[in-house]
């Protein structure tokens, strides 16, 4: 309830702001942010909270280039076509200087396409798809969060250390799931030629028939399981898997499951001993992260989620990029953002000049139960720059036009 009221106030406030009465260079620097606030509220609301926190903090320190930051958010309802329309509104009507946002990969790609076409700077926060900075990469699109490839590569590295040889995969049947499985298979087989993939399950996103899926996996008698399901699919899958004993005496590696967004709802049924990527939250005790969590708690009376980390880092990265560019002129910002280093609660990161991918890293660890709640244990943070392929590979992936 608290959140919702804030949302309404925030949204109506941004609407009421006069878009015309601003002279270039004196008013606030405007960041136009588009995300799936109604379609994916569990992930995007903590994310927006953290963005607001970051904007406040930046402004309290005097803003960027002597100007305040201003954040305007829009809801794309999970539809790329709406996101493109709203991008037009933010650019042409609200006169924003930077576009940001997206949770779903297709929304991110659509916004990246818009940015390239209209020569606007777009900084993506959440979307995971690799093509965003590689095959479909373009000069005007930057992406903060570690991609599907980066997440899968660390899991493959961990899986290679396991004795398991017979592997199965279960993954939602769409681009994210398919590339997650593809990279994992490729990278694991490269490290361990003796590994065999004996079967796969492809439930439709959001509609897993968990009992039948678990039973089918059980029938394959695997030694290791790669899971790419998340959200409600994951909840249903874990429940059936627990009851039917699918996970017993088997190694499970799982993408994103360590994020509190997905781990918390599992409650006391959170699986133990899965190797996952995720976000250990308040267990991280670096000074930067502690400052972040206490500020977040003070403002929202809630623990930060993985989305919060991304939202907070996103704003900081934008502030750093503009500061380095020394201007909000688009081409100068592109040059400025390339190679800019910025602080995040997880550690310092940068937007690589080579593919405009952020080097925000990945936390990898094991799941465990503490006081009937799932947590990550034995986790470590791997800098994103160590998870990406060699430079010549990346150059080959990116179109020439993206330079």
């Amino acid at each position: 309830m608290e959140v919702t009221r804030r949302l309404i106030l925030g949204a109506s406030g941004s609407l009421a702001l006069p878009g015309l009465l601003r002279a270039q260079g004196s008013g606030p620097i405007r960041i136009g942010e588009i995300n799936s606030y109604t379609a994916q509220p569990a992930f995007t609301v903590p994310y927006r909270n953290a963005m607001q926190l970051a904007v406040e903090q930046v402004n309290a320190k005097g803003g960027v280039l002597g100007r305040q930051l201003e954040l305007i958010t829009r809801d794309d309802a999970g539809r790329p076509q709406d996101a493109v329309r709203l991008a037009g509104e933010l650019v042409n009507d609200q006169k924003v200087d930077v576009l940001a946002g997206a949770y779903l990969s297709n929304v991110g790609l659509a916004l990246g396409e818009y940015a390239a076409q209209n020569k606007r700077l777009y900084i993506a926060g959440e979307p995971l798809t690799d093509s965003m900075v590689w095959e479909k990469g373009n000069r005007y699109t930057f992406r903060l969060r570690p991609s599907t490839y980066m997440q899968a590569s660390i899991l493959a590295e961990e899986a290679a250390k396991l004795p398991a040889k017979r592997w199965v995969t279960v993954s939602p049947n769409y681009e994210f799931g398919q590339s997650g499985v593809k990279w994992f298979k490729q990278l694991l087989t490269a490290r361990r030629p003796d590994v065999q993939f004996v079967g796969e399950q492809w439930p439709a996103l959001g509609r897993v028939d968990a009992g039948a899926t678990v039973q089918a996996l059980e029938g394959m008698r695997p030694e290791g399981i790669l899971n790419v399901l998340f959200g409600t699919d994951l909840t249903n899958f874990v429940r059936q898997g627990n009851t039917r004993g699918l996970f017993e005496r088997r190694s499970v590696v799982s993408l994103l499951t360590g994020e509190p967004e997905y781990l918390d709802p599992l409650g006391d049924e959170a699986p133990e001993g899965w190797i996952v990527t995720g976000y250990p939250g308040e267990m991280i005790d670096t000074p930067a992260h502690k400052a972040f969590t206490s500020a977040y708690r003070a403002k929202f009376n809630a623990k930060p989620m993985c989305g919060s980390l991304v939202g907070y880092s996103l704003i900081n990265s934008i502030a750093a990029g503009i500061a380095k560019a020394g201007s909000v002129e688009v081409e100068r910002m592109v040059e400025g953002f390339r190679g800019v280093r910025f602080d995040t609660p997880a550690g310092q990161a940068e937007y690589r000049a080579i593919d405009q991918q952020g080097t925000l890293g990945v936390y990898v660890g094991k799941t465990a139960l503490r006081n009937n709640v799932g947590v990550m244990t034995d986790w470590r943070y791997i800098d994103g720059k160590d998870l990406l392929p060699a430079d010549e590979v990346v150059r080959g992936l990116r179109p020439a036009s993206a330079s």
């Binding site: 709406d82 329309r85 297709n106 089918a216 029938g219 409600t232 249903n236 709802p265 006391d268 049924e269």
Partner: protein, 613 residues
């Protein structure tokens, strides 16, 4: 293989869950003839209410049962509220308007649930007994799934007793067969409808509460459940409880084995089943053909050309639209471009739905076909925009023709459901066939050539095309073909007896509507720079329905007015509040209650008042 038995049992458990939801839907439809889109929302409420009640009770089995019963009663009460406040006011409206009202309710319940329970999914913590299992053929099988397997037939048995051994049940069955006759015999329809709705809602609540041990209360239940429930109801035969049960079994078991054999088929399987069943049994497995004769006697009024004053108004609006880019900013020009696309989307649906009498729940399929045709031509052959705009209607028309072969023999809701099934299959193909369609990530880089790239120029192109399409459709409607089509709609039998080839007339209507809609899809794709599976999604199809119904079916101007109102309203709401679904839903419900004949219909009535007297 020792996993056949557990897989079979798993399928049976799925079947029971499906039946619980579908049974309520089929009962409500049987009596009230309402296609209740909000049935999934009722199940979602059942899950949330069940969660709230069950987490507060002790965790023993007897308390679980008590909690479920309380949930059922609570949802039944919500059903009563819904019926009395909203639906009762729209029974007299044309059939599909109730669907519109229930869709408004879906939007409202979405936001209310989010507000009450928050965004995070809420799984019910499972006590030990709910985690229990039995050893079957060397596999652990969940005890709770065994309970579910029993629950389905028990509920069916209880419903059978109520329907066949009580006076109320007799009335319900009579009303399912012939509503008007029951009314003529002096049965209180209001009470009957309200109580039927309460029963249906209660069953949805039961389904929601019983889904908790295996899943969670979350905000995606409504739309994912409603499509499955529709499929079951249609496959079983509308209004048939036994049919719904058989269909649930069929789908549950096919699904359980299907994903072992063809893991990627999950999304399309149920819709393939539905398509196959409807092709061989147009009224579902156990459904009876709906009585046609009496409905035909209330023919819709003849659509006549607009009065001169309205034509003048239209011309003025068009002139205004043509010069609009000189007065408004770039963003509003793109909104106007969207409005042009919406006009094509709505008028093409109106063509097959109003005069053609074929209400499509899957109109976005043609929209998407056109968009993908343009996008794929560009990707494979580098085809320029004019060629893309030409190919889109051709491709959509061809697909519509292929599909028409299955559809035109059906009527009423069965036809609508088959269009839904087809759209869902098309969506699944675009979503999952990543190599060809780019999958979820879509096709990018679909931009107009340089000369048409400015928002203004592109808007004028869209305007010319949309006005052209609207005028052509209008021309077809007033041609002899249009009159023949309307004759086929009003009474297929009489039309046949005077020598009209009804199937062919409807087929042509479908192809025309599909082709026009495909063009709209291509214009949209070039306007947005990409093609995505969301173009074919069910909510997009529903948008087309909303536009047409908001505007009204009885006039040619109706869908245009509906498209403009809907586009404008959605744009303003989305940008002004996070609660846009709540407001949009409320506006839809209010409009339906206030103007059951649509905006244009209401305007026409006001216009005619005092003129034709």
């Amino acid at each position: 293989m020792d996993s056949i038995l557990p897989q079979l049992l798993t399928g049976l458990a799925t079947a029971s869950s499906l039946f619980l939801v579908a049974s309520g839907l089929t009962i409500i439809f049987g009596v009230t003839r309402i296609v209740n889109f909000s049935h999934g929302s009722l199940m979602m409420l059942g899950a949330y209410i069940g969660w709230s009640i069950l987490t507060r009770l002790p965790r023993d089995p007897e308390w679980f049962v008590l909690g479920v019963v309380a949930t059922v009663l609570a949802t039944a009460l919500i059903g009563v509220l819904l019926e009395v406040v909203v639906l009762r006011r729209v029974y007299r409206a044309p059939e599909l308007f109730q669907l519109l009202a229930t869709f408004g309710v879906v939007l409202i319940i979405q936001d209310v649930t989010l507000w009450l329970w928050g965004a995070v999914e809420l799984p019910l913590p499972r006590p030990r007994w709910l985690r229990g299992f039995v050893e079957i053929a060397g596999n652990r099988f969940p005890l709770y799934d065994l309970i579910l397997i029993v629950t389905g037939p028990v509920v069916l048995g209880l419903l059978w007793l109520v329907m066949n051994r009580t006076r109320w049940g007799t009335l319900v069955r009579a009303a399912t067969l012939d509503r008007e006759m029951v009314a003529a015999l002096g049965v209180d329809q209001r009470l009957l409808f309200t109580s039927v709705f309460a029963l249906g809602a209660g069953l949805a609540g039961l389904g929601g509460a019983l889904s908790l041990p295996n899943a969670s209360a979350n905000l995606n239940i409504d739309l994912s459940v409603i499509t499955d429930a529709f499929v079951v109801v249609v496959v079983g035969g509308l209004g048939s409880l036994t049919g719904a049960f058989v269909a649930s079994l069929l789908i549950g078991i096919l699904q359980a084995f299907g994903i072992v054999l063809v893991p990627k088929i999950t999304l399309v399987l149920v819709f393939l089943v539905m398509a196959v069943v409807l092709v061989f049994r147009p009224n579902g497995l156990m459904g009876r053909p709906q009585s046609e004769a009496r409905e035909a006697s209330v023919a819709a009024p003849v659509v006549r050309p607009a009065p001169p004053a309205l034509q003048l108004l239209g011309a003025a609006a068009l002139a205004l639209a043509a010069v609009a880019p000189f007065f408004v900013g770039d963003y509003y020009v793109t909104v106007l471009t969207d409005a042009c696309v919406a006009i094509i989307f709505a008028t093409s649906l109106h063509f097959m739905m109003g005069p053609g009498g074929m209400a499509s729940f899957g109109h976005a399929a043609w929209f998407g076909t056109g968009a993908y045709a343009a996008g794929l031509l560009l990707h494979w052959l580098g085809a320029p925009m004019p060629l893309g705009l030409l190919a889109a209607p051709v491709a959509a028309g061809i697909v519509a023709a292929l599909f028409g072969w299955f559809v035109v023999r059906l009527s009423g809701v069965y036809l609508s459901m088959l269009t839904l099934a087809f759209a869902q299959i098309a969506w699944a193909v675009s979503f999952q066939w990543v190599d060809a369609t780019g999958g979820d990530n879509g096709l990018l880089g679909v931009w107009p050539p340089d000369w048409a790239r400015s928002p203004r120029t592109y808007y004028w192109i869209a305007l010319v095309l949309s006005v052209g399409v609207a005028l052509l459709l209008r021309r077809a409607l007033y041609a002899p073909y249009g009159y023949a089509l309307r004759a086929a709609r009003d009474s297929a039998m009489r039309a046949r007896s005077i020598g009209l080839d009804v199937a062919r007339l409807r087929m042509v209507a479908l192809v025309i509507a599909g082709a026009a809609c495909g063009l709209g899809g291509a214009i949209f794709a070039y306007g947005k720079g990409g093609v995505f599976p969301t173009y074919i999604s069910i909510p997009h199809s529903v948008e087309a329905l909303l536009m047409v119904l908001l505007g009204g079916l009885q006039t040619v101007a109706g869908p245009i007015a509906g498209a403009l109102v809907y586009t404008g309203l959605a744009d303003i709401l989305v940008r002004s509040t996070d609660l846009w679904r709540l407001v949009l839903g409320a506006v839809i419900v209010l409009l339906v209650v206030a103007f059951p004949e649509g905006i244009a219909g209401a305007a026409r009535r006001l216009w005619l008042r005092g003129r034709e007297a």
